[in-house]
Structures are given as C-alpha cells and as structure tokens.
C-alpha cells in the first residue's frame, strides 16, 4: 500500500486538479493549502506543456497562462518540495511524456521521491511503453470507455496508487452528463483488482460528484475548478471543492 492508495481506505476520495503556475506559483501554493482545508484527499498538480493532446480548451488555456510565466517542471518540483512538507495529503503530478523525456526519466522519478510527489499520471503514455518500475512512485494508469477487457486486466495489474477511470471518451472538460457506463466499467476493473478506482473527465457539479462517488472510490475534478481559477475567484474555488465534499459525504 502506498500513501496514495491508503487515502481511499478512509472515505471516498476527492481529487482536485490544478495547473502549476496558473496564474502564478505563489497562488498555486495558496490553492494547495486551501484545497486541503476544503476537503481534498489528494491534489493533482498539472505541469504545463505546450501541446497537451488529451486536454480540452479550459486546461489548455491554464497551461498557456502558466507557460507565459515560464513555469517549468523544475519549478513544479520546487513547489512540491515546499508544500508537501506543510500538507498531510499526497501530491500527484499530471504531465506529458515529453517533459519526462526532456528531464531524464530516472532523474525525474528520483526527484519525485526527493520532493514529495507520490504518484504520476502521464495522459499521453500507456503502460505498454513504460519501463519497469523500480521505485516508490505510483504510476496511476488510465482506463477509458474504449479499453478492452484484455487491456483492463493488464492496466489493473500495472497501475499503482489508484486506477483513473475516464468517464467518457474524448478530452478533458465539463460534461452535461456523466456516462451511465461508469458503474459497468468500474465493475469490469474490480474483476481483476482491489486497487482503488477514481473517476474523472467531465465532473462539474456536486450532483455529478455524488453520483460518480457511488460507483467508485474517488472523484477527480479538473476543468470545472480550473475554470473558476481562470477568473481568479480563488475563494469560490475552495468553496466549490467544499460543496463537492459535502455532496460526496452525504451520498
């Protein structure tokens, strides 16, 4: 059990996503503390990249805002190093494969351990291309509605920390409806593993969070939160996470 997977034993996990350096590194730092207080169990820190192919317009815009400040992976590590000492919940990096290639894969994973990053989500990589893991950093793998049974089995075995279940095909962004197949997909994964499952892609209000939490062990919220941050309504961002927390706990 890693620190990340342990989180799920206590309550349904709420996992907000924010982009490092949007709108500034210091604001991201404050947001991390506020999100913890608002009821987050894990925080996903997106590292900005020029060409995030899995992301919709909202998160692309967040990356662009951060890149205007020249925010790099190095900066993300410095931030993680600072905040991880002050919070009780684990941090996860979400980043594109090219940033890891550029940084150097072995240095990247050893720096994750050094600076308090517990797990990594690489949306444009698949387990088939990953090197064997020989460190303590969780590789959180994704299952999509298009993933066949054979791959679900392989991903269930190789994923660590939790399994990221994409609620519907497509890119990140709010959805008016969360696919009814989430419970079916979660059941298909549970056939092969007891590892926790968190649902993401499209969750944008308390009712959707509550519904998603019924079928899984955790809920990930990205675009809806980033959209509030884009308007610089930081208090509202924390209140939004509080409202999701209440809805999930009431479920």
């Amino acid at each position: 059990m890693s620190r990340i997977s342990e989180v799920f034993g206590k309550r349904k996990a709420l996992i907000p996503f924010i982009t490092v350096g949007d709108p500034s590194i210091s604001q991201t730092e404050k947001l991390v503390y506020d999100l913890e207080k608002a009821g987050a169990d894990i925080i996903e820190l997106g590292v900005p990249f020029s060409d995030p192919i899995a992301d919709g317009p909202v998160i692309q815009a967040a990356h662009n805002r951060a890149l205007k400040n020249n925010v790099s992976l190095q900066d993300a590590f410095l931030l993680a190093n600072k905040v991880s000492r002050k919070i009780k919940i684990p941090l996860v990096f979400m980043l594109s494969q090219n940033l890891i290639e550029n940084y150097g894969s072995s240095k990247f994973f050893s720096d994750c351990a050094k600076y308090g990053v517990g797990g990594v989500i690489i949306p444009d990589s698949i387990p088939d291309e990953m090197e064997e893991k020989n460190d303590s950093i969780d590789r959180i793998l994704l299952v999509s509605p298009t993933t066949n049974e054979e791959r679900i089995k392989m991903i269930a075995q190789k994923s660590s920390g939790f399994i990221y279940l994409i609620s519907s095909a497509g890119i990140t962004g709010k959805r008016s409806k969360i696919s009814a197949d989430v419970s079916k997909m979660a059941a298909a994964i549970k056939k092969y593993t007891n590892k926790p499952i968190a649902v993401g892609f499209g969750i944008s209000n308390p009712a959707q969070a509550k519904e998603a939490a019924k079928h899984a062990d955790g809920v990930i919220v990205g675009s809806a939160l980033v959209e509030i941050i884009a308007k610089k309504q930081f208090k509202k961002a924390a209140d939004f996470i509080k409202s999701l927390r209440r809805a999930i706990d009431a479920g």
Partner: protein
C-alpha cells in the same frame, strides 16, 4: 538491415511506438489490424493500383534534367515527378491507400490535418471521390497564409476547421485532429498525411508512399542499367522522402540525403522527445516545451519528424542536412528557369542541395531527386521575396 523496421509495436529502434491517451489505443489497434489484413489482400492491392494509375496519374515520370545536369557539370540529375500527380503532390498516394482502407473498415467520417493545405486538398479530393464526409483541421495562421487551398478544399466539399490553439499552425492542427478522434473513436477514420504519429501511421504511410521509390528504382535502371549513386529529398514530417528512400535502404552503395528546412530542422538541430504519439527528434526548449518553427515552405514548417527518419539518422544510413529559405528560393528559381518546372517550395530545398552534391560527382554517376510537388500554390508567397 535497415528495412526490417518497425517491430510489432511500431518501434524503429528506440523511436516511434505509441505515446497517446488510452482512448486512442482501441481505434489504433483496429486500424493496425485492418491495415495488416488488407495490405496483402489481392483485391485491396489491385484497387489501390487502379486508383494510383487511372486517378492519380501514376507512374509519374523519372525525368532526366539535362539542363540542370549541364549546369552543375557533374552527376546526371533525374527528377521523380511527383508534382505531376493529381492534386499536385505525392500526398494523394497515401490518401488513396488510407481511404480505401477506411471504406473497408466501414468508416464514413474522415478527419485530417493540414499545414500548407496539400494533404487537406488530397484528403478532400479522395473523400469526394469515395463519397466520404471530410473534416480538415488547419491552423488559423495557415488558413490565412493558404487561402487558395482552403477554397479548394471547400469546393471539394470538405469542412475546414480553423484551429486557434497553441501556435495556430500544423502541430496544433494535428493536436486538434487527435482530440477529435478521441471524442469520436468508433465512427471516425483519421487520415494522417505524413509518416508521423503513433503506430501504425509511420509504417503505413511509408508503405503507401513507397510507390515513389519502387517506380524510381525501375525507371532509373531502364536508363542507367544500375542503381543511382545518390538520392535527395526534402524532409518535413518525411513522407515523400521515406517513400523514395525506403526501397533503396538495403542498396548499400546508394548514398541518401534528406534535406530539412533550416528553421524547422528537427533532425539536424533537435533532441529526442515525444510529439504527436511517437518518440522522435523534436525541436524543444531546454525545459521541454515544443518550439514553433519557421520555414518559407509551410509543408516543412513542423517541430517534429517521422520516427523512421530518427532511426535512419542514428543508424547512419541517411544523412540529414539543412537548406535555408534563401537556398530554397535558389532551387525554386533554377528549376523554373532551366527546366521549365515550377517546384513546390518544399521540393526546392532538395533541388538546392544539388548545387553542393552534383558538381563533386562524376558524369557516369547519377542522382534521383524527389520533386514532391508543384509550385503553383507558392507563387503568391514567392512574390513577397523576389
């Protein structure tokens, strides 16, 4: 052996592979399976050949450029005339192959990216021919620069979507096409225009474009009763070049040169990274952000390159060099004035290299240059420079 790549998972040595979101694995597997099934299917092969011959106008000539040969006073120069293909460039070869595959897979919605608009026009042409819906993603900046090709695509019945994300050029058009495919993975076929992207695209595009090299090999042998001494082609994503080079990779004495645009030289100036689904040489900042490029020719204006070229560079089989905008304009000018052939600005980079290579060679040696497209589309752009 250089021609036995990629492996079953699309790796050309350490390059290539599949670096895409999980959602795309199913449609990529479906595509790969269909391609492997049909590439050896007699009906598929004969239909592909039929359209190449009767629709695209193949075989294209291998033309002995006597005036150019005399000017450089060295090796004999032969031009592989892909500019004479229907729609004016080699892009149609690949489009016909992919769309025949799409038809067999029952996919009726076709999406494509385009930079200068040559692949977009070819895709729109093929979709009109085969009765398929066509959606072309094109960077807003390219829509502005290549208004004529946008109009051509619309005339052919395609819908052109102007891409406003990122640098608003080819790399962003590819991003947006991949995003469309993620949202529509079951009913949509992505007709990719170059030998880039995740497996099986680099292999499949190369195979469809290899008609260039296979024809050139036979035609050259007719003239010279031997293999050529040198091949030259321009490299952006790298589809015309890999199409010419591939059938010659095992012919060891044949020297092979790929010419990149100096402002977009991923192989000459880049470093190893991951872009658009493949590990390959890319132009990136110190911190790993993909750089925007500049070339006078929109078709070479790309931050990455096909993974097979990265492999051939590291293996030492192909040498990659650069030509800048000025060199390209020189190539454009001499071919127009001396042979009466207006080349595409992309191909002009390869023509320009002849000045370096041809004079050093003997008159009993020969060079094949891929004239990948015609220059009508570039006339407006050239007006700004001369």
């Amino acid at each position: 052996m250089f021609s036995n790549q990629p492996d079953d998972r699309g790796h050309f040595g350490k390059f290539g592979g599949r670096f895409v979101p999980e959602t795309l694995i199913a449609p990529l597997d479906e595509l790969k399976e269909a391609y492997l099934k049909y590439k050896n299917d007699a009906d598929f092969i004969s239909e592909f050949k039929f359209y190449l011959e009767h629709y695209a106008g193949r075989p294209t000539p291998l033309y002995f450029a006597k005036n150019l040969t005399d000017k450089f006073n060295g090796a004999k120069i032969y031009l592989k005339r892909e500019d004479l293909c229907h729609t004016g460039a080699h892009k149609i070869n690949n489009v016909i192959g992919q769309l025949l595959l799409a038809k067999r897979m029952g996919k009726k919605r076709i999406i494509a990216e385009t930079g200068a608009g040559q692949h977009g026009v070819a895709a729109a042409t093929g979709c009109a021919l085969f009765g398929l819906e066509c959606i072309v993603y094109m960077g807003e900046e390219d829509v502005r620069r290549q208004a004529l090709n946008v109009f051509r695509m619309k005339l052919l019945g395609a819908k052109v979507i102007s891409v406003k994300s990122g640098s608003k050029t080819l790399k962003d058009a590819i991003n947006e096409t991949l995003r469309d495919w993620m949202a529509n993975p079951s009913d949509t076929f992505y007709c990719l225009g170059s030998s880039v992207g995740p497996h099986p695209y680099p292999m499949m595009v190369r195979d469809f474009q290899s008609v260039i090299g296979n024809e050139a090999k036979g035609q050259h042998f007719e003239f010279e009763k031997k293999e050529p001494d040198l091949l030259v082609a321009c490299v952006g994503g790298g589809s015309n070049s890999i199409g010419l080079f591939y059938p010659f990779l095992e012919e060891k004495p044949v020297e092979i040169i790929g010419v990149e645009a100096a402002g977009a030289a991923s192989l000459c100036k880049g470093s190893i990274g991951v872009l658009h689904g493949a590990k390959t040489y890319v132009l990136q900042s110190k911190t790993g952000q993909i750089l925007t490029t500049h070339s006078i020719s929109a078709g070479l204006d790309y931050s990455g390159v096909g993974p097979e070229h990265s492999y051939l560079k590291d293996a030492g089989r192909v040498k990659y060099v650069m030509a800048n905008d000025k060199d390209a304009l020189y190539g454009f000018k001499i071919l127009s004035e001396m042979e009466g052939i207006i080349p595409a600005l992309e191909s002009s980079h390869a023509i320009a290299y002849l000045k370096t290579a041809a004079p050093k060679m003997r008159s009993d040696q020969s060079i094949i240059v891929c004239l990948s497209g015609r220059g009508d589309k570039d006339v407006e752009e050239i007006k700004n420079y001369v």
